[in-house]
Amino acid sequence: MEKAKISAFQLFVMIALFEFGSAILIPLAIGAKQDAWLSIVMGMVGGFLLFFIYYRLYLYYPDMLPTGYVQKIIGRIPGKMLAFLYMIYFIYLASRDLRDFGAMLVTSTYPDSPLFVVNALLMLLVIYTLRFGIEVLARTGELLFFLFLLITVSALVLISSSGLIDFRQLQPVLENGFYAVFKTVYMETLYVPFGEAIVFTMIFPYLNERKKLKRVYISAMTLSGLSLAFAMIINVSVLGVDLTSRSQFPILSTIQMIELAEFLERLDVYFLLVLIIGIFFKLSLYFYVAASGIADLFQVKEPSQLIYPMGIIILLSSISIAGSYAEHIEEGLKLATIYVQLPVQVVIPAVLLIIAFFKNKKTKALPA
């Protein structure tokens, strides 16, 4: 474990940027039609519940990385294997995010550029960043967060002042009943993006003010969850349900609709910066967590050694992860949620918590 400390505000920023990351790109929860925003909010609430599982586990072993305490809970060898699989899972998600981003860039702005090169450039940036460790990443996050806020707020002002928003598009609410919304929650929004915050279990031990963790986490989640829901409301009320669900990247289509003063139009390229920030951050976090986890498992003395080879692996797998973007999205939002995310984010942590509970019951009382 790296000897580093991050502040509560830094954790807040990291969680917020992470949640925003790629979720802002994809037509999230559009299965719920105009109630997508509702589904996102409910997913967020589900995310809180998951957090309490992770939080309890953290309270049992506050100074340890999950790769360490898994070994304590279920024994050394099985623990190591499980932890290794978790790291593979993080690497897989990192590749998915890289692909999301590359595909977006290639389809929207750089149609003739090879995906490999577009991805490679971002990967080089991430490799460069991660060699400095978590502290620099956290500090970078703080700066980027301000930039991020600035751009999103200005985008919001532009959209609303060009008179595009038509809230009638959000009606009728709950057209297909509550269950249709709920289905997208447990099929989609609970895991992407809220359950994905399981990576932060690997970051919690670095926090310098332990008591603030709960508050920071909940507020960051709320901020990003509500913003995502709000973004979806804007998307649907500008584009309509039909176009939102047909768009590969709804937010981009929304930005493209801006026409102001015959001057501020076709702004999607400016908005690209927001997307780069989000993806860069999400990717870096997955990658960092995977690298530090692997280093912990294999007792690598200098984790920075791992960054470059792992970066290349992520880069290559981001290319071969799917033949087409359609396959990529199908895999990510339908298959992976049920077969990968559900067990990894919900079932296994819950089981671990139960075992840990019984193991620790005898030895010590739970610290508040």
Partner: protein, 78 residues
């Protein structure tokens, strides 16, 4: 060497996962294997160059590090 070993182990598991996902999508085994390789089939000289550099450093960096460590051990700090 350890680093390369770990990296290869990771890629083995990762590509197994990707392959498994393709199978779950109800593709047959042959298409699934092909799906892993297709994206790097249409490739220009620039990309080949980049890819070569990347893969070269993939092996070179850890080996270089190993070499340096050995040299440092032989010649301990004064």
């Amino acid at each position: 060497m350890k680093i390369i070993g770990i990296a290869l182990l990771i890629s083995l598991f990762l590509f197994a996962l990707i392959f498994g996902m393709d199978l779950l999508l109800k593709f047959d085994v042959k298409t699934s294997i092909a799906a892993i390789l297709t994206p790097i089939q249409i490739i220009g000289p620039v990309e080949i160059g980049l890819l070569t550099i990347f893969i070269f450093f993939f092996f070179a960096l850890p080996l270089f590090h190993e070499y340096k460590k050995k040299k440092n051990k032989k010649k301990p700090a004064e």
